[in-house]
């Protein structure tokens, strides 16, 4: 057996939908239980009063990186078949900024808004409707912005390729960065709490 299973044809399109459904259930459940179904919690991240989002996301990234590296190393996973999107530097920077502003204003990102809908949060429902409308507007406006959308293309590029460093060293650097980030986040939370009390 070699992963990714779908790419090697261990199951077909229909079964892949069932697999996606089960994975989606697990993902949504853990997201909600992690506290990501609350707009207040998510917005608190941007005021540095609660760094949970940062910690969860960075933990997920680091865990996935370690897992992918070692699974590939023992020959279980063919990394070249793992999908990731192409890089278009400038449009993605702009898109990230728009998403970030929407995140702090609305209190959700697309995934967390669906999670919050499951517990009946009205703001999340409104947010999701807004998101769908935004997709519609984007689709209609696409002919006018497609030049920008495809500008500064870099293709399928990874950090090891870009910097010419081994995967393993990038992995170590990200782990160090995560641990430094978590330490700083803990310190920041305490600092913000004491500042609040001081007032």
């Amino acid at each position: 057996m070699t992963a990714p299973f779908f790419k090697f044809g261990y199951f077909n399109d229909e079964v892949s939908l069932i697999v996606a459904f089960i994975l989606g259930l697990a993902f949504g459940f853990l997201f909600e239980r992690g506290g990501f179904g609350s707009g207040r919690m998510l917005a608190a991240q941007f005021y540095f009063t609660d760094m949970r989002v940062f910690k969860v996301m960075f933990t997920a990234i680091t865990t996935a990186m370690i897992g992918l590296f070692y699974l590939s190393w023992i020959g279980f996973l063919d990394l070249s078949l793992v999908y990731f999107g192409e890089t278009f530097l400038l449009p993605q920077v702009v898109g990230g900024l728009i998403l970030g502003v929407g995140f702090v204003v609305g209190g959700y990102c697309p995934g967390t808004s669906s999670v919050a809908i499951s517990t009946g949060k009205i703001d999340a429902i409104v947010y999701a409707i807004g998101g769908l409308f935004g997709i519609f507007v984007f689709g209609e406006a696409f002919p006018y912005i497609s030049d920008f959308f495809y500008s500064t293309p870099m293709g399928r590029v990874t950090l090891p390729e870009l910097f010419g460093i081994d995967h393993g060293i990038i992995l170590l650097l990200v782990i160090m960065l995560a641990i430094a980030g978590f330490t700083a986040a803990d310190w920041g939370e305490k600092f913000m709490a004491s500042k609040k009390e001081g007032k």
């Binding site: 190393w73 393993g168 990200v174």
Partner: protein
């Protein structure tokens, strides 16, 4: 040492574990070793020699005519030979660059060369490197020339209707690939000498293009 580790809070233990894994990863370097491979001899010996690993020229010609494009056809001959003539829809990949080429491990790959030997070697290399669906075009370019592009048929005028049909079909396929039927006299003279110089047929425009990969990602 272990006692000290066990006494730490879980988050610190996980952190230390992550650092250890990271340092090991940095020593390992790249997760994929591209020059050596370990081979499952049993599995390979079970599949080797089975017909599932071969494709006949007749099957291939049918696929090309039907525009079936769910495979990658790989020409292992030299670039000069490839330039001179190649089977439509094939791509030239040299033996040495086989595992660094753009072939994907989950693709259906069909290999051909002048004969079966080079193709068999390439089959073994790809199989060892984890390519799942690799086949060989049986008898390679020789068979393609002699059975598809310039087929000969000694079914004369007095043959049955069935043979006549077969003859017509062969002629039609040969015409599609820019060749022609070779007549065989009763004298059994070597036909191959009379083979017209093989030229690449007019670029065949296939009805369907290579299947675009479905858009993925979120």
């Amino acid at each position: 040492m272990l006692k000290v580790y066990a006494a730490l809070p879980p988050r610190k233990r996980i952190g230390i574990l992550a650092i250890i894994l990271g340092i090991l990863a940095a020593i390992i370097g790249a997760p994929e070793n591209s020059t050596t491979a370990s081979v499952n001899i049993k599995e390979l010996s079970m599949t080797a020699g089975k017909n599932v690993n071969t494709v006949t020229v007749q099957e291939l010609s049918n696929w090309i005519i039907q525009g079936k494009m769910d495979y990658r056809l790989v020409d292992l001959r030299t670039e000069a030979d490839y330039e001179e003539y190649n089977i439509p829809s094939s791509e030239c990949v040299s033996m040495s660059s086989l595992t660094n080429s753009e072939l994907m491990r989950n693709e259906k790959i069909i290999l051909y060369s002048d004969d079966d030997i080079i193709a068999s070697q390439a089959w073994f290399i790809l199989k060892s490197d984890g390519y799942h669906s690799v086949s060989i075009l049986k008898k390679g370019m020789e068979a393609w020339k002699n059975e598809i592009v310039f087929p000969s048929c000694n079914c004369g005028e007095h043959s049955t209707a069935e043979l006549k049909q077969l003859h017509d079909k062969k002629a039609e396929i040969a015409k599609f690939f820019g060749g022609a039927m070779q007549a065989v006299d009763g004298s059994n003279s070597a036909v191959k000498k009379d083979l017209p110089k093989l030229k690449a047929p007019k670029k065949v425009v296939l009805k369907t293009s290579r299947k675009k990969p479905a858009r993925e990602g979120c």
